[in-house]
Symmetry: C2
Subunit: 713 residues, 2 copies
């Protein structure tokens, strides 16, 4: 599968490990980007650096400069860094290709984000690059930094000072600013970083490309993404799912609010989609979602160094209960629980005298001030929790001595060693300011993920658990279940006259042919036909107007519920015809639809649509007016597996109603999962633009699609 991307992998490799680098627009002027970029390049480990200066400088920052790209005496310059005005980019790029360019960084703005003209320029750039097999980071980017090769291709030379120790976390960010803030978090928390890539306006390097690279990159153990909006959601999904099957991928999505979207659009030129759809895609691909840059780095850090927990039961060691309460709230909110200690552990806690006389041997294990003063107790308790089969992970809390010479230092190395021995993840809440950062450095050396607050440590541990759970649920490729030929033919017939909106009857017929239970609907042109139809299905029935010109039937008197007998039906038929004709005289009326009255039940909705960026999407949620209030719907790319459909149902916030509240029977979730899977297949294999089953009435073990509609293209 990967082989087809081999070329892409090699292009990235050439970019990250270049033999020679050209800095086009290198400048002696301190305030110019070309000056910063050249200084970054000089801080890198490359054999050759060629500054290009159109003004004719012979030497810049001590390096021989060239008046044009053509003058560079080297035909194997892997990497070109462009810090020149946008109007010169295209011609310069052409010249670079001649010099062997495999990768390029374009810092300059004025492309896709700058109106129609910029967009056109970017398109031309892209096709030139694709043709030449060159990967372009940018335009409008801060560039990239690869610690392993010390290749600093950003306009921030200081990054080379900050990041020297090799890490294995790769950060891919749309925004250079957010990448900068993430980098600062790495520095602050003493987390080694591996690679930082800012995609900017993405001429031909997308998140998907970077994910394909990361999946196979030996220097990447964890991927952290910052996404403001995707152009091709489906390609992203496929690459992300493939990468996440190899190594954890954490994602911070932004631009979800109207305000955020406006900002995101205007600077990257890409439209951020609804949070719910992105949420669905991220889940489906097996990514770990976070809410802040801080949480992004915190989570990447623990994923990088900790073993995965086998379950969700956390043992807590502390000398002070308040922070344990804060941590417990966060853990609990994210689906983890406080472990129940085994009798054996409890006895051992008492026998080893690690607790004060009045402290019960419970979880959290509260060492009180004795633990603050004698920090070796933490290791003792860690060992006991390690042996307890009811404990899957440990969260420990301690306040630093903060320089008090009377408090013995924490035996960090010994604690870290024990943590490795027990083989369970152990995170530390270390009460110290970053100005005591040697302490955080010591925790890092001890191999323990330490955080400055209880809330952050608990969130990171919870995300570790989510990653380990997702790992076990690895998305199996959805089995292709070709739909029967008859369904294809049926939809082909519907669209024989071109794209159109289909009515209830046609949509339900499709759903019925696909094996889904729908409320039967018979079209009756006359009163007599309606009566015959009702008799064939049994009273009570519902009568609805059928007209291609009427969308909101009930607004014009075109719906009558609960008709109990022939008499009622006849009266309703006549009244409806009269009322609708009066309300919409110009409407073509094809007759009425008769269907059995479906008893009240729990309303859900199911549907699908074709998104310009995501392709076919399937949706499920609670129905009725409540759903409009709570907007409790979830999305996935179609098709979905049965497992994925089950997860969709579990994600519904109000899913309790499916589980039988107030003595109502619980819904048949397997049947609903089958419904979702089927809608996903229809969306995937048929030319349907949009389809909706709303409401779907659930009655305990069964359900009925009461109303439905779709459009074909």
């Amino acid at each position: 599968m990967w082989d087809s991307n081999r070329e892409g992998f090699e292009a990235f490799h050439a970019m990250f490990y270049p033999r020679a680098v050209a800095v086009v627009g290198a400048s002696t002027h301190r305030g110019k980007v070309g000056n910063f970029v050249l200084r970054s390049a000089l801080a890198s480990h490359v054999e050759k650096i060629y500054p290009v200066h159109a003004g004719g400088a012979r030497e810049i920052l001590g390096v021989k400069a060239y008046p044009s790209i053509g003058d560079i005496p080297d035909d194997h310059v892997d990497l070109f860094l462009f810090a020149i005005p946008h109007e010169h980019i295209l011609s310069s790029f052409e010249a670079a290709v001649v010099k062997g360019c495999r990768g390029a960084v374009i810092y300059t703005a004025g492309f896709r984000e700058a109106g129609q003209e910029g967009l056109e320029k970017q398109r031309r750039l892209r096709s030139m690059a694709d043709e030449a097999g060159v990967k372009i980071i940018g335009p409008n980017t801060m560039g990239f930094y690869r610690v392993d090769s010390a290749m600093n291709a950003t306009f921030m030379p200081v990054l080379s000072d900050f990041f020297q120790e090799k890490g294995r976390i790769t950060v891919v960010s749309q925004s250079g600013g957010v990448a900068g803030f993430a980098a600062i978090r790495f520095v602050e928390d003493r987390v080694p970083m591996g690679t930082l890539v800012c995609l900017g306006n993405r001429a031909n390097v997308e998140f998907a490309d970077m994910l394909d690279f990361c999946a196979h990159d030996k220097e990447t153990s964890v991927v952290a993404l910052f996404i403001e909006g995707l152009d091709d959601v489906r390609r992203f999904y496929e690459s992300a799912a493939r990468c996440a099957a190899q190594k954890p991928v954490v994602v911070l999505g932004a631009g979800y609010s109207a305000a955020g979207q406006k900002v995101a659009r205007s600077h990257t030129g890409s439209m951020a989609r609804s949070e719910a759809i992105y949420d669905g895609v991220f889940r489906q691909a097996g990514l770990i979602q976070v809410r802040t840059v801080e949480e992004l780095v915190d989570t990447a850090k623990i994923l990088d160094i900790s073993p995965r927990p086998q379950g969700n039961r956390v043992g807590v060691i502390t000398h002070t209960a308040g922070p344990a309460v804060l941590a417990s709230d966060v853990l609990s909110h994210k689906g983890l629980v406080l472990a129940e200690l085994s009798k054996k552990t409890q006895k051992a806690l008492v026998a080893r005298k690690v607790l004060a006389p009045f402290t019960p041997p419970e979880n959290p294990v509260d060492l009180t001030t004795f633990g603050y003063l004698d920090r070796r107790l933490y290791g003792d308790v860690l060992e006991l929790l390690g042996e307890d089969p009811g404990v899957d992970a440990v969260l420990a809390i301690c306040i630093s001595a903060l320089g008090d010479p009377y408090v013995a230092p924490f035996p960090m190395e010994a604690f870290g060693r024990k943590a490795r021995q027990i083989g369970k993840p152990a995170v530390f809440v270390w009460g110290a300011p970053s100005c005591a950062s040697e302490e955080f450095l010591a925790w890092k050396k001890a191999g323990v993920a330490a955080y400055a607050t209880a809330e952050r440590a608990a969130a990171a541990l919870a995300n570790l658990w989510a990653a380990s759970r997702r790992g076990r649920e690895v998305q199996k490729a959805v089995k292709e279940k070709p739909l029967p030929e008859s369904l294809h033919r049926f939809v082909q017939d519907l669209r024989s006259l071109g794209p159109r909106l289909c009515g209830e009857t046609e949509t339900k017929e499709l759903l019925q042919r696909a094996g889904l239970p729908t409320a039967r609907t018979v079209v009756a042109a006359t009163e007599e036909e309606a009566v015959r139809a009702a008799e064939s299905m049994g009273y009570p029935v519902v009568l609805k107007i059928v007209s291609p010109d009427i969308v909101h039937k009930s607004d014009v008197g075109g719906v009558q519920l609960g008709l109990n007998d022939e008499d009622g039906l006849r009266r309703a038929f006549r009244a409806m015809m009269e009322q609708v004709r009066r309300a919409v005289p110009e409407a073509r009326i094809l007759g009425t639809a008769v269907q059995p009255m479906v008893p009240e039940g729990l309303e859900v909705i199911v549907g699908g649509f074709r998104d310009p960026q995501a392709g076919p999407v399937v949706m499920f949620g609670l129905g009725g007016i409540w759903v409009e209030a709570f907007n409790d719907v979830v999305f996935r790319l179609a098709p979905v597996s049965v497992d994925e459909a089950r997860r969709m149902i579990e994600e519904i916030r109000g899913k309790k109603v499916l589980e039988g509240l107030r003595g109502r029977p619980s819904a048949n979730k397997e049947a609903l999962a089958h419904l979702i899977v089927t809608i996903g297949q229809l969306m995937d294999q048929l030319p349907i633009q949009e389809i909706d089953g709303n409401p779907v009435m659930v009655h305990g073990n069964t359900y009925t699609i009461v109303d439905a509609r779709m459009s074909v293209f």
Copy 2:
């Protein structure tokens, strides 16, 4: 009003500014709490320090020591610090009172949190202290630290090193550990702190006492609370509302999850209540709620130094859009919006040439890399936003030069000066690690609230806006509206035989007498009576069984809806009698209740109950099975004002359904507010233990209480 508390204020004053301090249990041993406490005392500015050492040491840490409290040659020792085993506390406390003790700190554990015996000991301690007019911090506490007097009464002497600059933020925390983590945040972020008080097990100093003190304390500008659970919610509410009317009060509540509650209870001995009730009380008192210790300190900091915004429109200045997207998402989520810049501002941005040629003069004002390189541009834009009447606050984002000597330093002082001139709040997102903490120090000196991430700055600004809005809505004292004598008499009659559960008929009669529209209910002992009742109200009707022994009527066939005529009613009556007698042979059956069938509508619920800690509470929410799924209810202490009832309605997450979805009429919110206010009055003035109107059926402009029940005590 305050005068009654004058004595309390003075006792705290004596504690925070003591002339003489005794350290009982002072120790030479480095590992003893008594050693830490003595070192803290020695770091304080007090005239006299008396170590007390039962072992007979003559001198400890260079200070003359005494074998017992009685031996101290001073009868005006304001403050006693007890670091002795719990079994000696009571007798020592008695001796301290003789020596003029006004305030005491008891570090020792083993009281309230340690079972029945400990609880009893704490009760005795409390009554001794109350009698003597002494305020006790603790037991089981880290103590307090007052920067203004440099009085360090904690067992962390290092606090005296960290906090020397006087601040005006008072932190009151149940937990010493959380206080420690908060203190570390202050150090980390260079925020000066004023007073830190750890309440521990609260012998006789509660949050309410500290809030009463803070309301009048000149050294307090902002109060920050960490609460795990309250004993007397109503007293807390009253003090908090009084204090919040004077100065902002920020609160971090914890122990809401089942796991967190368990931890909180076991260490402070107090039961944390449902998050929803606390949330209601905090809102009602006008407090600003936060979610993490970091946000607590971040919010206190901005409240301490920033002017209040006059509206919710934020202008953003940045050189990089990504972090602006993150900030916009947070602002938007919390009800703030990106300001629309005036034409004048837009023109000025262009005229002054602060923007790159292709950058539109829009909000966020994106200075791009030019702004990163020329940081004076920030001040220019700030001035323009200051003049724009459509901008209420400014959020600026810039990444530090991080030591790059080629990037000019940010003119922080000038920016701060301009911010003060424009008189609007300006927060800064400063991209630097804390190890560059001189930069944060410089921001502090410049008077600008600066934060290390966009998310934190945006959240702090949003909380500032919430505080300013709350300030304008200051809770007016609820006007006492005495209920008519007849209602009192009615309830008195109901409880004449003692506390009991009242049925639907009695409850509805009370509600009707209180002027609330209820579905009429007539009790009919016989079939004939039922028919007469139905005729008097008109069909369709509902029939329900009436029995003091049956709570869940529908489970035993005791409810029949939609009876359309006499025939149906008679059949239903007979069937019901038979079915109920068969299902519950031992039940006393008083007859049936007949009521008109209320058409389906939007279901809401209203209710009240008497909470052991909070007293009368009123509740409102959406009804039906959906509420059980979403638990969308809000609480307040009763009585509530009309304004407060309106706010309750606005807090409902699914309030859209009240606003008329899918063409349904919108609910009459004023009528619902009146309903809530009335239930609050009933709860406040009558001996009702619990009352519920469920469902209340809303039909556009009107509503009907369909079913109701209550218990009296």
